[in-house]
Symmetry: C2
Subunit: 561 residues, 2 copies
C-alpha cells in the first residue's frame, strides 16, 4: 500500500477511533469546529477575496486522457444577484465513466487502510478550506453566510466522516485472511488458508443538489470512495463550484498518495443539456446517490436497475401541536424553523396540525386562530430586523421556488404573507420571508404536495387523534424527513413515539429552546430513516455503506511453510 496513504491513515487514526466511539454512543461529537473563531484569521478574512479571484475564469480539474470534449459549461448565478462566470470542462460522459471503471482495480487494490487514510485526509483539508467553501456554497445555494459556513463546511464534513466511519466499521469486520481448521475425528484436520477481499461494486455516481451542494453530497461520495468505488460527482448546474472545489481537494490528495487523481471526478452539465439520465443508465455505474425531487428520484430507482440507488426525495415534514407548556417559546422555536434558509431545507416543516378547538397551554386554553396568529407573530418579530432576517433567510436558490411562493398564496387563507426583503450588501438578492397559510384538514390538495420553499400550512383538525391520523396518512403516502410534536401529556408523547415508529420518521418532541426540528447532528441524529417515501436510505448507518462492496474470498489447502 502507498506509504503516503499509510501516513495519512496513521495521522487520522485517532479521529477515526473517536468517530467510531461517537457513532456507538451517539452523544455530541465533532472534530470540525462550527465556530469561525476556531479557524485561522487569514483563512476567514481572506475567503471573500479568494472567492472573487475564482470568478469569471475556468476552474481546472484533472481528467483522464481521451475524455476531454473540448467543450465547457458554466451557468451559475448567485442567488445574491450576480453571475459567477466560472467555467468547467465538460468531459465526454461515456468516456469518463469508462476511464473511471479502468482505475477501479487500482483503488480497490490499495486496500482498506489506504482508502480510508485518503478519505480522512481529504476531509481534513476540506475542513481547513471551510471558509472558502462557504463562499461558494453561499453564492450557489443562496444560504446565508453563517449557514453556508456551518452546513456547507464542518457539518458537511461531519456527515462525510460519519460515512467513512461506517464504511471502515463494515469493512474492518471482514478479516483479510483466516485459517479454517476442521477436525476430522481420528484423522488429521482439514486445514484451509483463506483470503478475503473487499471488492467495490463499480463506478459510483453522486448526483448533487443545488441547495446543499456539499452536505448532501459528502455522505455518498465518501461512503463510495472509502469502499473502493471511483466516484463521479454530477454537480447541479446551479451549484457546481462547491462540488468542484471538493473534487479538486480529493484529486490533490489522491495524487499525493500516488493514485490516479480522477478516481474522484466531476461531470458538470447544463440545464439545457442535462447528462444525469445518460450517466445513470451506464452499465458501469453500480451506485447512485441522489438528493432532489421525488419525480427524479423515483425515475432513477425505476430505471437505473443496474445500480443500487440511495435517494433522498420530497416529503411533507410535519409538526403536531397537542398542548404546550409555554406557547411563546414554542412559536419562537417554530419561527426559526420556518425562517431558516427560507424553508429550503429538506427538513423544514410544511404542515402544522392544530386542533380547530384550540390547545391547552400553561396559561390556559388558546384557540386555533390564536395559535396561528401566535406563530405568525413570532415569525414577524423574529424577522423584524432586516439584517438579522437576511442572515437567517439567506436567498431563494431558484426562480422556480420564488415563483412557487406567489403561486401558493391561493392555496389557503393567508395568516402571514411572504414579503420580499432587500439585502443590504446584495440588493439584487432573492430574499423572501415565509408564507403561512391556514387550511382545513380536508383540503388535502393544498398541503399534501411538497411546496418546496418558505411555504407552510397550519392545518385545522378535529382533535389530536385527527391530527395524528392525518399525519400518519400523509407521511405514509408522501414521506417525511422530520416530525415535530408538542404535548404536555406523557401518554400522548408515547403515542407520538409510536406514530413515529409506524411511519418511520424521526421525532422531535417539545422543541421550545435552542434546538430545532430541522437541524440534524451527525454522529447522533440519523438523517431520514429510509423507511418512508421521502428517502430510501438514512445518513448514515450500516445499511448506507454495507452494500457498496462485496467480499470475494479465496481458499486453498494450507501447506506448512
Amino acid at each position: 500500500m502507498s506509504s503516503v496513504a499509510q501516513q495519512m491513515f496513521q495521522r487520522h487514526r485517532e479521529t477515526l477511533d473517536q468517530a467510531l466511539a461517537a457513532i456507538a454512543d451517539r452523544g455530541f461529537w465533532t472534530p470540525y469546529p462550527e465556530s469561525l473563531k476556531q479557524y485561522p484569521d487569514d483563512a476567514v478574512k481572506g475567503a471573500p477575496q479568494r472567492f472573487e479571484q475564482m470568478l469569471r475564469k475556468p476552474f481546472a480539474l484533472s481528467l483522464p486522457g481521451g475524455v476531454d470534449s473540448g467543450e465547457s459549461v458554466g451557468e451559475e448565478v448567485s442567488p445574491y444577484g450576480f453571475e459567477l462566470g466560472v467555467s468547467y470542462a465538460r468531459p465526454d460522459a461515456d468516456a469518463l465513466v469508462s476511464a473511471m471503471g479502468s482505475v477501479l482495480p487500482e483503488w480497490r487494490d490499495a486496500g482498506v487502510e489506504a482508502r480510508v487514510g485518503v478519505c480522512l485526509e481529504i476531509l481534513a483539508r476540506l475542513n481547513a478550506l471551510s471558509p472558502d467553501i462557504a463562499q461558494a456554497v453561499m453564492h450557489t445555494s443562496g444560504q446565508a453566510p453563517m449557514m453556508a459556513f456551518q452546513a456547507g463546511g464542518p457539518h458537511a464534513q461531519d456527515r462525510g466522516l460519519e460515512a467513512v466511519t461506517y464504511a471502515w466499521q463494515a469493512m474492518s469486520q471482514v478479516p483479510s485472511q483466516a485459517r479454517w481448521e476442521k477436525p476430522q475425528g481420528k484423522h488429521g484436520p482439514l486445514v484451509l488458508d483463506k483470503r478475503y477481499h473487499i471488492v467495490p461494486r463499480g463506478v459510483s455516481l453522486v448526483v448533487a443538489c443545488s441547495t446543499f451542494p456539499t452536505w448532501n453530497t459528502y455522505p455518498g461520495l465518501f461512503a463510495s470512495l472509502a469502499t473502493g468505488n471511483p466516484v463521479l460527482v454530477k454537480a447541479h448546474p446551479g451549484a457546481v463550484l462547491p462540488v468542484a472545489m471538493t473534487v479538486k481537494v480529493a484529486q490533490e490528495v489522491l495524487a499525493e498518495a500516488g493514485f490516479s487523481p480522477w478516481i474522484v471526478s466531476l461531470v458538470p452539465d447544463s440545464q439545457a443539456a442535462p447528462v444525469t439520465k445518460r450517466l445513470a443508465l451506464d452499465s458501469a455505474v453500480k451506485l447512485i446517490d441522489f438528493t432532489g425531487s421525488s419525480a427524479f428520484g423515483n425515475w432513477l430507482e425505476d430505471n437505473a436497475r443496474q445500480a443500487r440507488v440511495y435517494s433522498e426525495k420530497s416529503g411533507i415534514n410535519s409538526v403536531i401541536i397537542d398542548s404546550v407548556d409555554n406557547l411563546k417559546a414554542v412559536t419562537q422555536n417554530l419561527a426559526f424553523t420556518l425562517s431558516l434558509y427560507s424553508g429550503q431545507m429538506c427538513t423544514t416543516t410544511q404542515a402544522i396540525y392544530v386542533p380547530k378547538g384550540g390547545i391547552q397551554t400553561s396559561e390556559g386554553h388558546v384557540g386555533f386562530d390564536e395559535v396561528a396568529a401566535a406563530i405568525a407573530t413570532a415569525v414577524e418579530k423574529f424577522l423584524s430586523d432586516n439584517d438579522r432576517a437576511c442572515a437567517v433567510l439567506g436567498a431563494i436558490q431558484s426562480c422556480a421556488t420564488e415563483e412557487r411562493i406567489a403561486a401558493s398564496r391561493a392555496l389557503g387563507e393567508v395568516v402571514l404573507d411572504s414579503e420580499a426583503r432587500v439585502h443590504a450588501q446584495f440588493p439584487k438578492a432573492r430574499v423572501h420571508t415565509p408564507l403561512l397559510l391556514k387550511v382545513d384538514g380536508d383540503n388535502k390538495a393544498a398541503y399534501r404536495e411538497e411546496r418546496f420553499g418558505p411555504i407552510s400550512f397550519i392545518v385545522a383538525t378535529e382533535d389530536t387523534d385527527h391530527s395524528m391520523a392525518l399525519a400518519r396518512e400523509v407521511i405514509s403516502e408522501q414521506g417525511a424527513i422530520t416530525l415535530g410534536a408538542y404535548t404536555t401529556e406523557e401518554a400522548v408523547a408515547e403515542r407520538f413515539e409510536r406514530l413515529a415508529m409506524d411511519v418511520a420518521v424521526p421525532l422531535s418532541l417539545n422543541m421550545d429552546g435552542g434546538v430545532f426540528v430541522n437541524q440534524s447532528a451527525a454522529f447522533s441524529d440519523f438523517h431520514a430513516t429510509g423507511g418512508n417515501p421521502a428517502a430510501n436510505a438514512s445518513l448514515s448507518n450500516l445499511a448506507f455503506v454495507a452494500d457498496r462492496f462485496v467480499v470475494v474470498q479465496s481458499r486453498r489447502h494450507h501447506t506448512a511453510a
Copy 2:
C-alpha cells in the same frame, strides 16, 4: 420484554458470543454437530418411523383468525418414489399478509434481545429435531440421507445462526438511548435525551426452493425475524414438509414466549395455482428472499418494487485447469463435486475449462482428451459401487431435471454418459449419474446456459489465458456462485485471484483433497458474493441484514429528574 424470551436470550448468550467471534475470525466453528453420533440414539433411530407417522395426514400449524379458506393443498412426491400425502391448510394469502402486518408492532416492540432470544431457541430446537428434518428433506429434495441430515440440519442451522448473529451485530450497534450535550460557549450546554428504535420494514416473504428447503430458507427467515419482521414462508409445492416442520417449531417457541405464533407463518401453494407473484406484489410485503431460477428472481426484482429483494439465482459455476500437481487427486476431487446430489447444488461446477493443448502435471504433459478421460474415469470409479453411488448422488428432485439430462446429450461429445441407477431401498427413486460432455470454447450456446442437474461440460480452450477470458465473459454475463482453479504456478494463482475479484466470485484454488468447490461453511465462507448476476446478496454478511430494519429516533430536551 417477555421474561421467557429473556431467559431464552440468556440461555443462548454464550452461543451468540461465540458466533460473533466466529464471523470475525472466520475459522472453523459450529454449535450444531454434523455427526449423527453426537445426537441421541433415539432421536436418530426413531426418525424414519416418526417421518412415516407424519405421512398421509394433515400437518397442523397456527393461523390467525379469519384467514382459513377451508382449502388445503399437498402434492409432495418423494424423489425416492412415493407420495407423501401430507396436506396443509391453504390460507387466504391476502388475509394472511394483512394479519401478519397487524402483529408487526407486537414483534417490533418486543425488542432486540427478546427477538434474538426467540430466534436462538428456535434454532436450538431445530437442531435437536435434525434427524426428523433430515427425513423430510430427503423425501422432498431427493438428497441422500447423510447430506439431508448435514445440509438440511446442522449446516442449515449454522446459516440461520449466522444471519441472527449479523442481525444482532447490526442492531446492537445502535444504542437504545443517548444523551447529546452540545457546549454553547459561556452559556449552558444544549442537552437532549434521545431514544433509538429498531423498526422492521414490514412483512417478510421467504420463497423456499425444492432442493435445499431449509439451507436456503433459514438465512432470510432468521435475518428478517431477528430484525423484527413477521416472516411468511412460501414453500415450494414439492418441498413443503421441512419448511412446515420449521415453521411449527418457530410457532411453538413464539407461543411459549408469549407472542402470536403466526409471526412466522407458512403459505403453501400448488404447481397449478401458484401464489408467489400475488404475495410478492402485496404492498405490505417489504422484504423478499428468493432462491431459484434467474427468470423468476429477475421477475421479482423487476416487479416487487415495494420490497427489498434478496435473490440467489442461476449461474455458470466454473473450474479452470491450468496445471496440476497430482492429476489423480484433482480428478477424484472433481468426481465428488460433480456427483454430490447429482449436480443439483447451486454450487456445482458446470463448465471445466481445459486448454486443448493439454496441461502440465507432476508426471508430465497430459493432453486435453486424456484430462477429459481422467475426469470421466474418476467419476466412473467413484460411482462404481452402487450403494456408495446412491449415498452420494441422492435422487433427482424434479422430472424436469431428469428430462434435461436426456435433452442435453446432444449439446456436445459425450465423455461420460449419464446412467440410471437402481436404489436398493427405493427402487422407484430417480437416480442418475453425471453426464459429461466435451465442447469447444466457441460452442457458447451449449455451456453458457445453466443446465441444472448432473450435466457438465469440459470446454476446450486455446490456453489458460483463453480459459480465463471465457470464464470472465461467461461469469460477467451469467453469474456464478463458485469458481475453482488449478495451477502449480503462483503467478497464475494470483491471476486467478484477480479474476475472482473482477467477476466477484469466490475462488477455490487447487482443491485436491477433502474439501470441494461446491461446499461452503458458515461463519467462514461467504456463500455467493452478491456481486455478479448469480445472486444480488451474500449469505450472510452485514449487507444481508442491515437494510431489513430502519432506525427511528426521538429526541427531547433533557430535564433533570
